[in-house]
């Protein structure tokens, strides 16, 4: 589904974060991207979202070379990106309103887009229907993140990109939302790429884990984790061994 071919990327006047980097992600897979601060995790996500363009090489999704944000990709950021002046319902409707604004032009909106979708299903599914008239400043961090997820899912994406979406939440809310995200991905047949700096989160969510190290990243280091998301996995020996391994790899890389 996603192919990065010999991608090099550098911000102006800095050394490259990625150099001749290649990676393949298949449809329906759940990927965690793990690495220390400044290694290029978020940049990789922005490249996949079409918000940044590689300096050289190419990124294609579903066979199309990515040159701009793609209507079927959903991006969820660390601080939710909700409009403070809009209610929860209006925020969830935002993506649909943007599509209505342009009409089905294939550029901002998929050509098969049906205008006027109702978001009530998503408000209920994410458990935020009771706060739909509240503003973001009036609800909890967990509810804000649920709003951001509902807004993205209302657009029926096939790819969900998340940038440390749960880092500012308490442990219980974080666990709930991680499980919800995984079940929504299965239910909606989504491909998931989640960026995190937390080893436990990466090992708990990603069936494949991409470990990035100090820039420039030239080779994709991938760890298979086929049992991620299964019930009881987080208390299994395999999970703890993987966490240990990732921890050692990250520290070995740093040393």
């Amino acid at each position: 589904m996603i192919d990065l071919t010999s991608v090099t990327f550098a911000y102006p006047h800095t050394s490259p974060l990625f150099e001749n980097f290649s990676l393949s992600i298949c449809r329906g897979e759940t990927w965690s991207v793990l690495g220390p601060s400044g290694c290029g995790k978020t940049t990789l996500l922005y490249l996949l979202a079409g918000l940044r363009q590689p300096t050289s090489g190419r990124i294609s999704i579903e066979g199309e070379i990515l040159t701009r944000p793609r209507p079927r990709s959903g991006l969820i950021l660390q601080d939710y990106g909700l409009l403070p002046w809009s209610t929860v319902r209006e925020n969830v409707e935002l993506g649909l309103r943007v599509r209505d604004f342009y009409g089905e032009d294939g550029r901002h909106t998929p050509v098969d887009f049906q205008p006027g979708n109702d978001v009530s299903y998503w408000l209920k599914r994410l458990g935020i229907d009771e706060v739909e008239d509240k503003f973001p400043s009036q609800i909890s961090g967990g509810q804000r993140q649920r709003t951001a997820i509902a807004r993205t899912l209302a657009l029926e994406p096939d790819l969900l990109l998340m940038d440390e979406p749960f880092s500012s939440l308490d442990a219980i809310t974080r666990g709930d939302l991680q499980n919800l995200t995984l079940s929504l991905c299965t239910e909606q047949k989504l491909t998931l790429v989640i960026v995190t700096h937390a080893i436990e989160e990466a090992a708990g969510l990603g069936k494949k884990i991409l470990l990035l190290g100090d820039a420039p990243n030239q080779r994709a280091r991938i760890f298979e984790n086929p049992n991620a998301g299964q019930s009881g996995y987080r208390s299994s020996q395999a999970y703890h061994e993987l966490c240990d391994l990732l921890w050692k790899e990250m520290h070995y890389e740093a040393a």
């Binding site: 601080d79 403070p84 002046w85 009036q138 657009l155 990109l161």
Partner: protein, 246 residues
């Protein structure tokens, strides 16, 4: 602020005025009751016409300023290129006291309403542009990026982010400028017109020496400023509900 508190403050001010009038005890400072009676009488005697002229000028000046300055501020704040081009110009022009251009504007635009409105525009334009530009430029990049990821291009960003984000800045700029706008209005109405509260106050105070009528004009001008101030507050409560929730 509660309405009751505002009412108490107003009564306090009237009380201070009453006491001052009693202490000074001169025709140049009549008490509030006398002024109120004259105010009611003068309303039927032409004061309302002067009020309408002033209201029209100040409203036109402010509306024109918002209609031109808000899009200019949005465009500069939303584009780094335009910001680089225009910000040095605004930086240089902003601190210049525009009121000194009154004679120049009158020379160019004549003595009619156009010149009076243009002077208010000159002053308000910069205040609104600067506040709106800063608001638009200070928006969190994550907000813009998450909108872009939902498919928003430049037009949708303006519609869904820049304009609603700048609305409070526009209203703040308006609220801050009302005092200046009414003061400038007074100056522009001192000469070259026979209608307007500035003319009315000056004519009654300096030519007819009718002090109660002059104070009636001052009250009318204060009501003009206060009315506009309250209107902006009302608009803010209506359009920016999110700022008032707890």
């Amino acid at each position: 602020m509660k309405r009751r508190d505002a009412l108490i403050a107003a009564l306090g001010l009237l009380l201070v005025w009453q006491i001052l009038a009693m202490v000074v005890n001169l025709p140049i400072l009549p008490d509030p009751f006398k002024v109120f009676n004259v105010f009611v009488r003068e309303l039927q005697n032409g004061l309302s016409k002067h009020f309408v002229f002033s209201l029209w000028r100040v409203f036109a000046g402010m509306a024109l300023s918002v209609l031109i300055a808000a899009p200019v501020g949005l465009a500069i704040g939303g584009s780094k290129k335009l910001d680089r081009l225009f910000s040095p110009l605004i930086y240089l022009l902003y601190p210049i006291p525009k009121v000194v251009f009154v004679p120049v504007v009158i020379l160019f635009l004549g003595i009619g309403d156009t010149a009076k409105i243009a002077i208010m525009f000159l002053i308000l334009f910069f205040q609104i542009t600067v506040l709106v530009r800063d608001q638009a430029a200070g928006l969190a990049p994550q907000l813009i990026q998450s909108l872009q990821s939902l498919g928003a291009g430049r037009r949708a960003l303006f519609r869904f982010v820049y304009i609603p984000a700048s609305l409070p800045a526009i209203l703040t700029a308006l609220r801050q400028s009302i005092g200046t706008a009414v003061a400038v209005l007074y100056i522009t109405e001192l000469s070259a017109t026979k209608y307007g509260l500035g003319y009315y106050i000056y004519y009654n105070g300096s030519t007819l020496l009718d002090y109660p009528a002059m104070y009636a004009g001052v009250v009318a001008m204060s009501m003009l400023g206060l009315g506009m101030y309250f209107s902006v507050d009302w608009l803010e409560r209506k359009w920016c509900k999110w700022k008032f929730v707890t």
